[in-house]
Amino acid sequence: MNTVKKFLLKREDVFSTLIALLIAFGIIAILLMSTGRPAGEAFYYFIKGAFGNVENTSNTISRVIPLTIAGVAFLIGAKCAVFNVGVEGQLILGAMASAIVGYIVHLPAIIHLPLMLLAGMAAGGLYAFIPAWLKTKRGVNEILSTIMLNYPATFFTHFLVLKVLPMEGVVPATPKIDATARFATLIEGTRLHAGFVVAILVVVFAYFLLNKTSIGYEMRAVGANKEAARFHGIPVEKRMITAFMLSGALAGLAGAVEVAGVHYRFLDQFSPGYGYDSITVAMVGLMNPIGVVLSATLFGALKTGILDMSIYTEIPRQLTTLINGIVVLLIASKEMIRSSFSKLVRGKEEFKQEKE
């Protein structure tokens, strides 16, 4: 019994997150039923929609890709005390930059594809420099500044698409990128593309950076205790700027990968809020690269599954956002769940000991 208790307490954060998720889905089930929608049936169609066949599974994975990269982007910042709510804006600018490189420049694939991804990273990273500079040099709260900066990014790309760049057809979008700038489709007829590999590389990179390098260790130290980091000679502001720009660059990469793998152009308003989802994904993923993959899978499945479900069951697709909101609310209150969980486990144990 003692080992079970120890295990439960050691993985407190995992269990309290799982409990938060369970409560969230409990609330959703109640909501579904109280609005006259069958929760059981909904769940069936949801699973079927997300993983029911090769096509659906592939589509789920195609959503997991940007969510994973964006989630890691948010995580890299948060690990270094940088709360980058600007992933959305950086992602959009990254997508735009990569789309431009994708259709204006003509190069062999081996150079073209990496170049367009780099362009995306550069755009996202540079855009993140603004809030990074403001935070470290002017003491501006990065949450406020990044929220505000998401909007100009949207309007700017919108402006480029509609009024500067040439448009093919009626859809507000840039011209299509060259074939040399596209990811190969992995399974024909689905949206699953080779950007999958990029997502895996990003996760490996984040894990490697944070856990295997000196600079990653320093970034984590800054995130956990700025004062101690400074006391032990770590240049706190420099590391925060690095983390912020790296976060922005990965956000830009997420946008570029969407362009190279899914849309083959910059499509106005292509992002269904991947940038905002990245916060949920990283938080549910316990700020851990591997955790982000799992949580991105969950939220990717939610997006695909609910879309499919809404066709068969008359359950509105807005359920996705709703679930996101409830999950974030519960994760924000996780401290309470964690302490109740801890009390429960300890309490039960003590109760048992008394009986023996």
Binding site: K212, T213, I215, Y217, E218, A228, P235
Partner: protein, 508 residues
């Protein structure tokens, strides 16, 4: 004799620390009653209990002979008790009058503020006690001395008869202190009772009628001012029985490792925090820095490792210039630091044991080639240090916030000694530790000393300074006022100098 205030059997502990141990205090009406004691003697805790900020574990409070229940500041205010906090509880963005009236604003027709009354009443109150405060001035724009008067006005406005002043002169200039004493005398003449908390003996002798001395959470004695003097008070404050055996004399003292010459520094408000500090620390000795909290010790340590910019002076380590260099470079030259704030500066509490055991060395061999971390080396280092220093942890991947204070401190000491620095700075190295952990830290410092390291020890505990030091420097208001050999001084001498007295030898 009737007492306006009586506290009986006040008992309070914070975790393992006993802050007030059955304290009895009687205060006569219309007097200035001082409570003196070293840092951590329990004065502030006692006053916070009286003001309802802390709840005593047990004990009674009587006002005018009637028992009262004080659970919050509102209760205290209702019972005529006011407190002038050491850290002002004022709102810089509001005017003096708004601050004074906060919570009890005069109203016009129940809804609106009576702005005229607010300013007028403040003015009247200020004039009556000769406080000369402009009601319309913004608190953010006035000096520290005036801010304190605003706090006094606030308490007067709440119709307090008993006024607690918690270390009121700590932030004041000498002139401002003199002004404050005039105000206090004025208040006493008006029949107010003043509880004056301080550890500065000179001013206590100047202002008090009676004096209560506290030590280790207990009352040592309450005396009339006319029956005592600074020397007697100092002895009561610091003269506890020394039960620890002093360290054996150093084996061999060599040349200076660290040289500090005429170092000055200012804080963010441009007030001087260090003034012309000069000393050196020699190989094989422990130089103790004695002083009351807040006299520049924190800034000194930060200046030595490059965190506090210095405006003047030179710092050299083994002949190499160290001032105006980045922290990392200074530390790598061979300075180990046990910082005064264990949890904020010494450790990253969310990191595990092995991660903390190479904090600051993450780019040094053998842990890293400058880019990549060798976890093998980190693990080996942790295994070695945990064993050698007997750090009690379930495993090396335990987060350190779950360890006891003693084991946390062992981690810091182990790390700082592990890279074999020639200079060791230990700031409050045993604060909050139990006897066993304290002994451990002391042993390590003496061992390092005998290996020829230079050690700078900063401590608020005079006992610890006397126990370990070869020489002792006294710091007062950012200056080193004396450097003496341990064998040629006494606790009383040092106590006097720490409290701002001039050096004169007092036969024990």
């Amino acid at each position: 004799m009737s007492y306006i205030l009586e506290m009986r059997g006040i008992y309070k502990h914070f975790g393992e620390v006993l802050a007030n141990d059955h304290v009895d205090l009687k205060v006569e009406a219309g007097t200035v009653h001082s409570i003196v004691g070293e840092n951590g003697a329990g004065k502030t805790t006692l006053m916070c209990i009286l003001y309802g900020l802390y709840k005593a574990d047990s004990g009674q409070i009587f006002i005018d002979g009637k028992e009262v229940d004080i659970n919050s500041p509102s209760d205290a205010i209702a019972n005529g008790i006011g407190m002038i906090h050491q850290h002002f509880k004022l709102i810089p963005a509001m005017t003096v009058a708004e601050n004074v009236m906060l919570g009890l604003e005069p109203r016009k027709g129940k809804i609106f503020l009576d702005l005229k009354q607010i300013n007028q009443q403040t003015k009247e109150l200020s004039d009556r006690y000769g406080l000369a405060v402009d009601p319309k001035a913004l608190v953010g724009n006035i000096s520290v001395g005036i801010k304190q008067r605003v706090e006094i006005l606030k308490v007067l406005y709440h119709k307090a008869n008993i006024m607690i002043l918690d270390e009121p002169t700590a932030l004041l200039t000498p002139q401002e202190s003199e002004d404050l004493f005039r105000v206090i005398n004025h208040l006493r003449e008006d029949g107010k009772t003043i509880l004056f908390i301080s550890h500065k003996l000179k001013e206590i002798m100047q202002i008090s009628d009676r004096i209560t001395v506290m030590r280790d959470g207990k009352i040592v004695d309450t005396v009339e001012k006319r029956d005592t003097n600074e020397v007697k008070l100092a002895r009561m404050m610091v003269g506890r029985d020394v039960f620890l055996k002093p360290a054996p004399a150093p084996k061999k003292v060599d040349g200076a490792v660290l040289k500090v010459e005429d170092v000055s520094a200012v804080n963010e408000f441009h007030r001087p925090v260090l003034t012309d500090v000069s000393f050196d620390v020699r190989s094989g000795e422990i130089l103790g820095i004695a002083g009351i909290d807040g006299n520049g010790q924190t800034e000194l340590v930060r200046a030595l490792i490059g965190l506090q910019p210095i405006t003047k002076g030179k710092i050299t380590l083994k002949g190499k210039q160290m001032d105006h260099k980045p922290v990392k470079l200074i530390r790598d030259e061979g300075i180990g630091v046990v910082p005064e704030d264990r949890l904020m500066e010494g450790l990253v509490v969310d990191f595990n044991v092995q991660e903390n055991l190479f904090l600051g060395l993450q780019r040094n061999k053998p842990f890293s080639d400058g880019k990549l971390i060798s976890w093998k080396a980190v693990r080996k280092n942790a295994d070695d240090l945990v064993k050698f220093f007997d750090i009690r942890t379930p495993n090396n991947e335990q987060k350190v916030n779950l360890l006891s204070g003693g084991n946390q401190q062992k981690i810091i000491v182990a790390r700082e000694l592990s890279h074999n620095p020639e200079m060791i700075i230990a700031a409050q190295p045993t604060r909050g530790l139990d006897i066993a952990a304290t002994d451990f830290v002391h042993e390590q410092l003496i061992k390092q000393r005998d290996e020829g390291k230079a050690i700078l020890l900063l401590s608020l505990s005079l006992d610890e300074i006397l126990l370990l030091s070869t020489r002792i420097a006294v710091i007062y208001k950012g200056s080193i006022v004396a450097i003496v050999n341990k064998d040629e001084t006494t606790a009383e001498d040092l106590g006097l100098m720490m409290l701002g007295g001039t050096y004169e030898h007092i036969p024990a």
